[in-house]
């Protein structure tokens, strides 16, 4: 097969379709379809962008303007202010989102590191270590992905509620809940990546006298870094954007509630105060958007590897 490719003159493969066989009607149709195609692509792109742009533009307009006219008027009659952001990041306690921004960070960072650390170690147990029943246990962990969050919510909440630990460490239940819900997928994905580490590499290290800890830290871990980065980004965004766990495990308490829960409450109570909602929504989107643009490559790679969680 490779021989035929190398002997074939390269221009054959790249030559455009034979023009002589095309009628003028066909050429016209091709032109129209490409025009129509581009038009459809542009319409989709616009539909997918305009709502977010509208929100952002509105968040920068004075309250009175937001009430009286649509955000597109800002282009013909520009008047911008940072007042809305000052309100949601400072201002009175009932509309101050800064504290929830901090909560979200305090929740999301450990809730990314914990499952990641545990899953990397577990996937070592499932891919490099050999023990009886290993494959069956792995299938069991894999199957746990089927269990929707909703199935485990109430009993897991009961385990924590009313305990002394919950009073001293109010975030603990959120960290643990996010960790548990992330583990099945994390173990499955990282195991798949770890299984691709060449066996000879590990055996060579073992012949040189390296124990499992050395093999884990020095051989496997460095090779896993791209996969780890992909999963970390996903998990962080997932926790940051989560509402269900945040809502149930914070029990409506201001001290631990994440940004999403506070924003959802604001949308319920102050549904018409668009100057607060637009700025608040944008504050909540800020970090995900930065992560997204800075690390898009890892994001796409993770997506293609199947890290999609429900």
């Amino acid at each position: 097969m490779s021989a035929t490719i190398t002997t074939r003159p390269p221009e054959v493969a790249t030559r455009p379709p034979a023009p002589a066989r095309r009628t003028s009607a066909a050429r016209f149709r091709a032109m129209v379809t490409s025009r129509v195609g581009s038009a459809i692509a542009i319409v989709i792109a616009v539909l997918w962008t305009v709502p977010t742009v509208g929100l952002f533009v509105s968040s920068l307009r004075p309250e009175a303007d937001i009430r009286s006219s649509g955000w597109w008027h800002a282009f013909t009659d520009p008047s911008f202010t940072l007042e809305n952001y000052a309100r949601v990041l400072g201002g009175s306690t009932s509309t101050n989102l800064a504290v929830y921004f901090q909560n979200s960070l305090v929740i999301a960072i450990p809730a990314t590191l914990l499952p990641l650390g545990l899953a990397i170690m577990a996937s070592y147990a499932f891919s490099v270590l050999r023990w009886p029943g290993r494959d069956w246990v792995f299938v069991g962990v894999f199957a746990l992905q089927v269990v929707p969050l909703q199935m485990a919510l109430v009993p897991l909440l009961r385990i924590f509620s009313g305990t002394q630990v919950a009073d001293v460490l109010p975030f603990l239940s959120l960290w643990v809940a996010h960790t548990i819900f992330a583990l099945p997928l994390a173990i499955f994905l990282l195991h798949n990546f770890m299984a691709e580490v060449p066996r000879e590499l590990i055996e060579a290290a073992q012949i040189d006298g390296a124990g499992h800890v050395t093999v884990f830290l020095r051989v496997v871990l460095p090779l896993m870094l791209p996969a780890i980065a992909s999963f970390a980004i996903f998990q962080f965004l997932w926790v940051w954007n989560d509402l269900l766990v945040g809502l149930t495990f914070s029990g409506g308490s201001r001290t631990v509630q994440p940004l999403t829960a506070a924003l959802a409450a604001m949308a319920g109570d102050r549904g018409q105060e668009w100057h607060l909602l637009t700025a608040g929504a944008f504050v909540s989107m800020l970090l995900p958007l930065v992560v997204f643009f800075a690390l898009q490559r890892y994001f796409v790679r993770g997506l293609l590897a199947g890290s999609v969680k429900g």
Binding site: T33, I44, W48, P148, L183, I187, L263, W274, P288
Partner: protein, 327 residues
């Protein structure tokens, strides 16, 4: 020390340090255990590497799921056995029927629309000059939370009486075209469709990325041969592209269906489940945490679980087949 316990940042630092200490301790023990001889050694290794994760899964996922199953056959306070009454309630209660009907609409329409749009877009921008920028545009909503997306779209759907100036984009366009403003989120049953559009908006990017990668994997000589035979763009798309990426299409469709079954954030943020927009996942939340009836809430959780299973099984089999084809 008090900083660590009594401030949020302190607790954050404490959590990270404590976790690092646990990992270090596990690895240190493993290093010591390496000196052991005989059978005990590998058992200890498995326990140290896999034990913590497996223990958490058993206590935090397997046990709660079984307990939810048990609670679904008990009364509101999980004290007396009520048989199938909770399940019957879901199918008899008018609210439950509305939720089931809406959930069905969500699960059928969201995957189809999101996949269709993602596919068309992926094909249209394939190999174009602006491909990666164009991808980012469609892909961007994936980084936004459902709560954020809900607020973005509530703003687009904003309605005001005909006498006032419309501040919602859609109604402004409608009025500009000479129509009457529409109450997008209040008028049932169409309001459910407008909520579904929001999920389509966030999921189309996912479909686009997966399908775009699949399209690029279609052998170029097949496409070239078809083109030399005089196939036009449409024929290429229907006869070559779609059949070649069929496995990816199935994975995308089922994955979005699974996510759709569990969605509750959009309904919650945009309509608060009023105006006949209730869905199963949100109703489960309401029964468990608002009305405090763990029996009915649990039955709904089990129902979601049962609906998800066939999709996941199909998805996994399809993925395994894809992998076998590729290998």
């Amino acid at each position: 020390m008090s900083f660590l316990l009594y401030s949020k940042n302190g607790q954050l630092v404490l959590a990270i340090v404590a976790f690092a200490a646990v990992v270090a301790l596990l690895l240190l023990t493993a290093r010591l255990a390496e000196r052991l001889r005989g059978r005990g050694r590998s058992g200890v290794m498995v326990l140290l590497f896999g034990g913590p994760a497996l223990l958490l899964l058993a206590v935090g996922l397997v046990y709660p799921a079984l307990r939810t199953l048990w609670m679904s056959f008990m009364d509101a306070r999980s004290e007396t056995f009520v048989g199938w009454a909770n399940y019957a309630h879901v199918f008899v209660d008018p609210g439950g029927v509305v939720a089931l009907r809406n959930t069905l609409a969500w699960v059928v329409l969201t995957p189809l629309c999101a996949t269709a749009i993602g596919l068309v877009y992926a094909v249209l921008i394939d190999r174009s000059r602006f491909e990666s920028a164009a991808k980012s545009l469609l892909f961007l909503p994936m980084a936004i939370s459902f709560v954020g997306a809900g607020i973005i779209w509530r703003f687009v759907y904003e309605y005001r009486g005909a006498a006032q100036e419309q501040t919602g984009l859609l109604n402004a366009v409608i009025v500009w075209l000479g129509g009457d403003p529409v109450r997008f989120l209040q008028d049932s049953p169409l309001n459910t469709l407008f909520l579904i559009a929001v999920l389509v908006w966030t999921e189309a990017g996912f479909a686009m990325v997966i399908l775009s990668a699949a399209i690029k994997a279609v052998p170029q000589d097949v496409v070239e041969a078809a083109r030399l035979d005089g196939a036009n763009a449409w024929q290429l798309f229907v006869r070559i592209t779609v059949p070649s990426i069929r496995p990816s299409l199935v994975v995308v469709l089922t994955t979005i269906s699974i996510a759709t079954l569990k969605i509750f954030d959009i309904t919650r943020t945009m309509t608060g489940a009023q105006f006949d927009t209730q869905v199963l996942a949100n109703e489960m939340y309401d029964w468990s945490f608002v009305f405090g009836d763990n029996g009915i809430g649990s039955a709904m959780a089990v129902l979601i679980f049962l609906l998800v299973i066939p999709l996941v099984v199909y998805n996994v089999r399809q993925m395994a087949r894809n992998r076998a084809v590729r290998a």
